[in-house]
């Protein structure tokens, strides 16, 4: 009887510990689940400006190496049809292609903070990879229920020498599968400058995938909704796909 009690206590404690991973472990899992090896998707991007005007864009996007390399090509509207962006090394290197001039231009790192086609997403926001793991230090702030989901609220403090994209990010990851459902981005003044909410999360080829992401700029009071129209992770990049040559096609 005593032995049984000890075993139950031990199992209970170990289960408890297993359910409370460290912040770094959570971020490892978040990164893993957010970064499939390869992705191909079609999406739309609806920008609602601060005065309520709406602009809709459509694009195709390819990524590989868990988001280390990506290529995005706009298909609509007509004015920017064919404009494309190649990002390598987790968006450290960006090239843009402008079909009107038929020129490829290498963008300097300051361009990473520019809005993509006037949206509330920057180039840097679109870059995948291990940014959360390498450029931030994670701390669990709380366990919270958000949008009906039990989550870990994680604070990510930027490591200055790693040049993080934001000084601080607060992230809510679902405890059920580690998928992040919301992120708050803070500026250097501690102001929550942007918020990202992910919804309509569906299982696609064993990966939870948000079919809708809404980024709100809390300063300019504008928002951008990204909708996934088509997505697959069973896509293999042909040799040389993430190259300037392919950017121009």
């Amino acid at each position: 009887m005593r032995l049984r009690l000890i075993m139950i206590t031990f199992l209970g404690l170990s289960t408890l510990f297993a359910q409370t991973p460290t912040a770094a472990e959570i971020i490892d899992r978040v990164t893993s689940i957010m970064s499939p090896e390869n992705t191909y998707s079609k999406g739309s991007q609806t920008i609602i400006t601060s005065s309520g005007k709406e602009r809709v864009f459509e694009f195709e996007s390819w990524s590989s190496g868990k988001g280390e390399s990506s290529l995005t090509r706009y298909t609509k509207p007509a004015a920017i049809r064919g404009q494309a962006f190649l990002m390598l090394n987790n968006a450290d290197d960006i090239w843009s292609y402008f079909p009107r001039t038929k020129r490829v231009r290498k963008l300097a790192s300051h361009a990473k903070k520019q809005k993509m086609q006037g949206s509330d997403f920057t180039y840097e926001d679109m870059g995948g990879g291990d940014v959360f793991q390498t450029k931030f230090k994670a701390t669990i702030l709380a366990e919270e229920t958000r949008d009906g989901e039990l989550t870990w609220k994680i604070e990510l403090m930027g490591i200055p020498e790693e040049e993080p994209p934001y000084p601080k990010i607060v992230l809510w990851a679902r405890q059920s599968d580690y998928y992040p459902i919301a992120l708050d981005y803070y500026d250097e003044n501690g102001f929550n400058s942007k918020s990202l909410v992910m919804s309509n999360i569906q299982m696609v080829e064993d990966y939870p995938s948000a079919m809708m992401m809404v980024m709100t700029d809390n300063k300019e009071r504008s928002s951008t909704t990204m909708r996934t129209l088509e997505i697959t992770y069973n896509w293999e990049p042909p040799k040389g796909f993430f190259s300037e040559r392919n950017l121009k096609k």
Binding site: K53, P77, R105, K106, A108, G118, S243, R245
Partner: protein, 395 residues
């Protein structure tokens, strides 16, 4: 464009379920020169069609229909500072046009991309000037405007994700006379580079005034480097040029019918540029050009310098220029920008503020003003001010 091209391409395109797109653009300009002002503009319709019969073939073409209005006959001497009000007349008539601008086929193999036909070719990394571009001339007030097509064969051999070997040839009556340019492109770290060499038959002095077909031979060796330093985008592009003059020139100049200055047989041209976007979203771009094919002093200018500059044979009239561009997305769907161009040799220049408004989806209005400074007999000082309204709708 010869009709055989259309006969060849049209059935192929229809078979390959083509995509149609393009734009309508209308422009109205007002220009003040001394006591005279001119009104002019155009309406332009561009229809593009692209078809992909399979993954390895792209066929593209576009037709431009452009109709001018207002002043369409221009005496080029009115725009040459040393010759304005000289009584000399050399009129250029702007003709309404319907033209097939680009028509090409691109074949893609794992080891080669080959594009045949009239196609847009825009080499170089400079924004306002490209010393390695031997194909195009551009308006400094609108450097990013599309270039017209060039009938050429273009091949790109990939050597890696960031490196390639590229060749363009503009066929002529024989291989020797064909324009040829080669590039070796590559990258290291945060930098991309290219090395280039080109051979071109260059329109001779005489061709401008007397229409002779004699051509000089130009050799260009150059390159470019683009990357970043301390968070600023930086680039440079340079060309070392050598000219082998035609025998006709020697004969002509020795006859002393017209006294020419001795032509230069080599010149260097280079651009340095940098850009940055600040945290407040202000984008700034600056470029400096040094072009030894232009003149260092205003009193050295002769009529050919103006003609070379106007025709695009030379990238500039004089030697040293600065270009500055500032842009800020100030309001919803409205950006304010301004560019300034300075000729450091004759101390003239222009300042052009601009407003761009994305008024509807795919529809933009831009209004650009231009204010000129400098003495009356300088490159930019000749004009007083200008205004340009442009409406463009893409489909």
């Amino acid at each position: 464009m010869k009709s055989w091209g259309i006969i060849l391409f049209l059935p192929l395109m229809l078979w390959a379920q083509p995509e149609f797109f393009g734009y309508f653009e209308s422009e109205a300009d007002l220009m003040q020169l001394g006591t005279v002002n001119y009104n002019f503009g155009y309406n332009k319709f561009r229809l593009d069609v692209e078809a992909r019969p399979n993954d390895n073939v792209l066929i593209g073409a576009n037709v431009n229909i452009q109709k001018y209005w207002g002043k369409t006959s221009w005496n080029i001497y009115d725009f040459l500072p040393g010759y304005a009000n000289s009584g000399l007349v050399q009129n250029i008539e702007l003709q309404d046009t319907i033209m097939v601008d680009n028509v090409y086929m691109r074949l893609t193999f794992p080891w080669l991309d080959m594009t045949l036909g009239r196609q847009q070719i825009s080499p170089g990394v400079g924004y306002a000037w490209n010393p390695t571009d031997i194909f195009n001339s551009r308006s400094l007030l609108d450097p990013s405007y599309e270039q017209t097509g060039i009938a050429a064969i273009r091949s790109v051999v990939p050597l890696g994700n960031r490196s390639s070997f590229e060749m363009v040839m503009i066929p002529a009556d024989n291989f020797e006379n064909a324009t040829k340019q080669f590039w070796l492109n590559g990258g290291f770290g945060r930098f991309d580079f290219s090395l280039t060499t080109a051979q071109q038959q260059w329109q001779s002095l005489h061709a401008f005034t007397y229409g002779y077909g004699e051509e000089d031979e130009r050799w260009l060796h150059g390159g470019s480097l683009v990357g970043e330093i301390l968070g600023w985008g930086v680039w440079t592009e340079f060309g070392v040029n050598n000219i082998v003059y035609s025998s006709f020139y020697e004969l002509y100049s020795s006859s002393s019918i017209i006294a020419y200055e001795p032509p230069i047989d080599s010149f260097n041209e280079y651009v340095f540029g940098l850009d940055h976007t600040f945290d407040n979203s202000v984008y700034v771009l600056g470029e400096y050009l040094h072009n030894e094919y232009g003149k260092a002093k205003a009193d050295e200018l002769i009529i050919y310098d103006y003609l070379y500059s106007l025709s695009g044979k030379s990238h500039s009239l004089m030697q040293d220029y600065g270009f500055l561009y500032l842009m800020h997305p100030t309001f919803d769907l409205v950006s304010l920008s301004a560019l300034a161009i300075a000729n450091f040799n004759d101390n003239s220049g222009t300042f052009a503020p601009q407003l761009d408004w994305n008024i509807f989806d795919d529809t933009n209005i831009s209004l650009q003003g231009s204010l000129f400074w400098g003495e009356e007999d300088t490159e930019f000082g000749l004009q007083d001010w200008g205004l340009r309204l442009r409406l463009r709708s893409d489909f």
